[in-house]
Assembly symmetry: C2
Homo-oligomer: 229 residues x 2
DNA sequence: AATAATTATTGATAATTATCAATTTTGCTT
DNA sequence: AAGCAAAATTGATAATTATCAATAATTATT
């Protein structure tokens, strides 16, 4: 009896995911043929560089962000398997408009943009699924924009925690792979302010902190703070 | 000899636009069959309401924004003919995630979401063109997010002016249909600050102000201020 | 053209957030 | 386990922006 290795299982899940998107076996073979590993902290793509590839995250976690001149990034998305990264570069000026970095050792399938484009053009079901992803990305960006532009620090941090808990980790516990600085860049605030707001939230018993790990104890309270402005 | 009315001309241009997107005559008939007029200041769609329609702006100007609880909006896009509005609602939770208001008397074609979706599913060329629009929308939102989250007021205002001049009005002159408050909501600042920054820019001879109309005199200077942070 | 309503402007002040510097804690490497 | 590097924390201060209030200018209405 053959026992699957974690990698085999992961391969199977990826194939299932791609099947659900409407890809047939030859198409799946094409998009999964090139796989690259990234170490923690490595750049998966660099803002401004030539956008040759659409990327499918197979394993690990990434953060996508916009780089500012003064080393201030704005994280707009944390991604987990199996996410497609770089759709905003499918057409346009051929350059990545954002940077992407591995939060832990990660595996990414690279698909040449033209190849990806051809599959879309020949596969209606897949095109439709990709459009759904675009819709989601836009809605996510509206949320981020709303949080960052109109709110005060407490609400901003609550928004980030809610995002991480509900949308990303799907758990009350936010993984310690997320640093205070990540939360800062997600919230549009300075790291020191994150520390202060988290301390407040801990005092209010809204969250528990164990080293780098944050656990949400009272989601309702976070949501109230989020709405309060 | 028949003289075209402005409306006829506009119809013709709209049809040309839709042809270029890959729609055939019956499809064009379908998407242009319902036309609605909006007065200045009227809501074209309300954030949170049921998203029944995809909208094609035929005439006039609109602003799209995210509403905050405390009457603070964040404008993320100004639209001119012929733009498609509401693509982010094509799939998802069936509600508009943003509000949209007419900046002047405007005409909008309403296309039922399901109808629009069916056309996409049966027309690869159109699907591909729609995906281009999604890409552009995402890139625009990245720009806004970068401006609003990481910069100071001078840079933010410069970004807004550059956006309005280059992307929207395609002219050195920014139409007086844009109020100081609009610029504030586009920049993520208070209206009073806009007034002050504009006064600064005027003193620096970067812009000229004639009542509500702003003319850009030195685009390079604005771009330098924008980058400066 | 007169009046009302909206929008823009200005100054003063308060509130919020960023920055800087110093210290502690945590995680990683050997 | 020791030592090093990175990340987190804390306090003090400076900088930035929002808010409030009052007035002026512009636009819309009758």
């Amino acid at each position: 009896m053959k026992i699957f290795s974690p990698d085999d299982e992961n391969n199977k899940k990826l194939v299932d995911f791609l099947k659900k998107l409407g890809l047939n076996s030859p198409e799946i073979k094409i998009v999964t043929s090139t796989e690259i590993e990234f170490k923690k902290g490595e750049n998966v793509c660099k803002q401004g560089s030539f956008a040759s590839y659409i990327m499918i995250l197979k394993e690990g976690w990434l953060k996508s962000y916009i780089e500012n001149i003064h080393f201030k990034n704005t994280i707009f998305k944390i991604t987990k398997p199996f996410s497609i990264i770089g759709l905003s570069c499918l057409y346009g000026d051929n350059h990545y408009h954002f940077g992407c970095q591995a939060l832990m050792p990660s595996k990414v399938c690279l698909v040449e943009r033209t190849v990806f484009d051809n599959i879309i053009k020949g596969n209606n079901k897949f095109a439709s699924e990709i459009i759904k992803m675009y819709s989601n990305s836009l809605q996510n960006l509206y949320d981020r924009l709303n949080s960052i532009s109109n709110k005060q620090s407490l609400s901003k941090v609550c928004d980030s925690l809610i995002y991480l808990s509900e949308k990303i980790f799907e758990s009350d516990t936010i993984s310690p792979i997320i640093t205070r600085r990540d939360i800062a860049e997600l919230s549009g605030l300075a790291t020191e302010n994150i520390v202060r707001v988290l301390a407040e939230l801990k005092t209010a018993n809204a969250i528990a902190i164990d080293k780098k790990e944050i656990t949400i104890l009272d989601m309702d309270m976070l949501k109230r703070f989020s709405c309060f402005g």
